[in-house]
């Protein structure tokens, strides 16, 4: 049952990811990226990581992708700017490199799993992935990293505003 669900989500993920890099229009790419993120959230829920699944849908599929779509709409890119002819050599070289990469990772995963018969336990125990455990970890063991994240987000907000603000309006 879990395997069937995994295969369904995996097919959605891979098909969506291929559509992201194949489709010509940025809006269609963004929509299929939202699709991929929802499928990945489904995979998170499948292994019992419910908090991260919710986070994935809210932050990624919600906030970040809305930002992407907003910028795409705002730029109002004309069709000829989108479909600039890509260099043939780059495309073949990139595809070959990506294929070599996936083969490499598959080889090492296979070799690594040869050491012990490792299978993921899917009926997850209750204490795993409980929001209590995660928040305890965040606010005790990783408190410094959490505070640094807040500073990072502040810097990102200020930086984005500084960059996106027009030059002419700087003195107002």
């Amino acid at each position: 049952m879990h395997l069937i669900l995994f295969i369904i989500f995996a097919v959605f993920c891979i098909a969506g990811a291929i559509l992201v890099i194949v489709l010509r229009s940025p809006v269609a790419s963004a929509i299929s990226l939202i699709f991929v993120m929802c499928a990945i959230a489904g995979l998170f829920a499948l292994v019992g990581a419910l908090f991260v699944a919710a986070l994935q849908v809210i932050v990624y599929a919600g906030a970040v992708m809305v930002l992407f779509l907003f910028v795409i709409m705002l730029l109002n890119i004309k069709e000829e700017l989108i479909t600039t002819d890509e260099k043939r050599l780059t495309r073949y070289l990139g595809s070959a490199l990506g294929l070599a990469f996936v083969l490499e990772i598959a080889y090492f995963v296979r070799r690594g799993l040869a050491f012990g018969s490792s299978s993921l336990y899917l009926p997850v125990p209750k204490e795993f992935a409980s929001i209590e455990l995660i928040s305890t970890g965040i606010f005790t063991k990783y408190l410094l990293a959490f505070e640094m994240t807040s500073i990072l987000l502040l810097v990102a907000i200020v930086g984005a505003i500084m960059l996106a603000r027009g030059k002419g309006r700087r003195d107002t």
Partner: protein
């Protein structure tokens, strides 16, 4: 045949590789950013798979931080793209060779 750790790792590798191919082959800057998001998602998938495998919530805490960094990266990256489009009237990555030499 039951669901194993290898399934998740291979799926993560495939998604990551698709992201790499997107970054290398596409010349539209927004699609390049989306491919980077794809790679970050693949890393998150591997982290959650290991976290469930080891029954350890630390992996999910790392995913939390990765999502925060990815949100910051998307905001700054999109602001940069807007600035570039305003100055150069293009978002083709090949046009941006200002700092090359």
């Amino acid at each position: 045949m039951s669901l194993g750790l290898a399934h998740f790792l291979v799926l993560s590798a495939v998604i990551f590789s698709i992201g790499v191919i997107g970054v290398i082959t596409r010349r539209n800057a927004i699609i390049v950013l989306m491919s980077i998001e794809l790679m970050l998602n693949a890393a998150n998938l591997a982290l959650v798979a290991f976290s469930a495998f080891r029954q350890d919530p630390d992996g999910q805490i790392f995913v939390f931080f990765v999502i925060a960094v990815a949100a910051a990266e998307a905001a700054v990256g999109l602001a940069l793209i807007m600035l570039l489009f305003r100055n150069r009237k293009s978002i083709n990555v090949d046009d941006f060779n200002l700092m090359k030499w």
